[in-house]
Amino acid sequence: MVAENTAKNLSITLRVWRQDGPQAVGKFVDYQSKDLSPNMSFLEMLDVVNDDLTLKGEPPIAFAHDCREGICGTCSCTINGQPHGPGKGVATCQVYMRTFRDGDVITVEPFRAAAFPIVKDLITDRSAFDKIQQAGGFITARAGSAPEANALPVPKPDADLAMDAATCIGCGACVAACKNASAMLFVGAKVSHLGILPQGQAERDKRVVAMVDTMDALGFGNCTNQYECSAACPKLISHDFISRMNRDYLAATVRAAFKAVSLGGSGGS
């Protein structure tokens, strides 16, 4: 039987990483928080702690959050060493205080990766993901130029697989969880989503090479196939997509070496 709402309130010690800015030296600071409802979400607990800090004249803890329903990918705490905390397939905002026990010490850190520099406290700058997307995470289709939607059938298994990859919320937990701060799951998911679909074939080779090269240039680590990424992913995206990307990358590199190139210009008179 599941826990009842009548469960006892709890008190915890919060060990939070506080850092004023990207260049500042950070450190862990302990806060006591008492009488918390087990039905509170983890972020609501932080709200309460912050209101207390504000009233006490201490700076509140900066933390990233928005939709609070696990889809926007903004929230990004590492709770007790695990990105998005305990629980499988959830984002930080979907962690509830009933997960913890009365008297627990909870360590809260930002997602740690050199490519995600700390902005303040628990907030990191994840714009590197946008840069990877800019390099090739798209199918070029200007508004107005699209053919009739049903003109190109997509086999259902392909559409389903592409959707599996496309559920990525861009939170960066894969990078945070990876022992090497690698972004392979994020990039693999995007490359696969677009590369599986027939619409994505024209730019497939260019896309995978550009995205992988950009990822490398941004200072993410390398994949050592330990699959911490897919275990931490709030959408449980499979690391199969990494394998798939590796294959695509190899194939694209080999194809590029043998591909005939047009000598013509862009035409027009």
Binding site: R112, A177, G219, Q226, A232, S243
Partner: protein, 240 residues
């Protein structure tokens, strides 16, 4: 990593299969060793190839590790692992031990720098009793005088310390391969969930078999099941 890893996995397995001839008549291992020597320049090509593979493997591992450490930046204050296997997390440690082992192994059996008293060149020559064939082709004739590798191996492992070191080292090497074998399929884009379970089993059995095979040689020597060739060479070296 994957490509050099694949080459090295191929080598260590081939090497083991060759070595298992120690359980056969001494003609086999000694003939095999003589055959390899007769390859001459080809042997050197293979040796250099392997050396290059090892160097690239280590170089890549070093570069990647440095990159990976840099990619993390500030380490976590609270360290936690969700699902990464012990083998995968110990790759560096097992790699170091394997490297140490490799150096000793070459010093021991190839160069004679370690345990030189039982080095093949310091042992009496062995006279082939039968012809040694590879793929049906006779490569070493009966009666040929060849180095006594068979005895060298057995004498070498009669030291329990050495044998134990070998056993531990190949154990760690097998552990290294457990992640390496599985991993290379992922890196080369040949792994998917559909057969990931199968692949894991193949990797596990391969590594177990590899370990068992490697355990068998020093194990059998320690248990006295293997002794140097009948003609009474003991651990005390014969003087030339």
């Amino acid at each position: 990593m994957a490509v050099t890893g694949l080459i090295l996995i191929g080598f260590v397995i081939g090497h083991l299969v060759g070595n298992l001839q120690v359980f056969q008549h001494p003609d086999h291992l000694n003939g095999y060793a003589q055959f390899l020597h007769q390859l001459g320049p080809l042997l050197w090509v293979a040796r250099i190839g392997l050396l290059v593979a090892v160097v690239i493997h280590i170089w890549a591992a070093t570069v990647l590790t440095l990159e990976n450490n840099r990619a993390r930046g500030t380490p976590y204050g609270f360290k936690h692992t969700i699902q990464a296997t012990l083998a995968s997390r110990m790759m560096r440690v097992t790699g170091y031990v394997v490297l140490g082992f490799l150096l000793y192994h070459i010093a021991h059996f190839t160069m004679g720098a370690a345990q030189s008293s039982t080095f093949k060149e310091n042992l009496p020559a062995y006279t082939m009793q039968h012809e040694y064939r590879v793929a049906g082709f006779p490569v070493v004739a009966a009666g040929a005088k060849v180095l006594d590798v068979h005895s060298m191996v057995i004498l070498g492992f009669q030291s329990p310390v050495v044998a134990l070191f070998y056993i531990i080292a190949v154990g760690l090497l097998s552990f290294h391969l457990l992640h390496g074998f599985d991993s290379l399929f992922q890196t080369l884009g040949l792994r998917s969930t559909r057969w990931a379970g199968g692949l894991r089993k193949v990797a596990l059995w391969l590594c177990l078999a590899y370990f068992a095979g490697n355990l068998a040689i020093p194990g059998a020597v320690l248990l006295g099941k293997l002794s140097p060739r009948a003609v009474g060479i003991s651990a005390a070296p014969a003087q030339r």
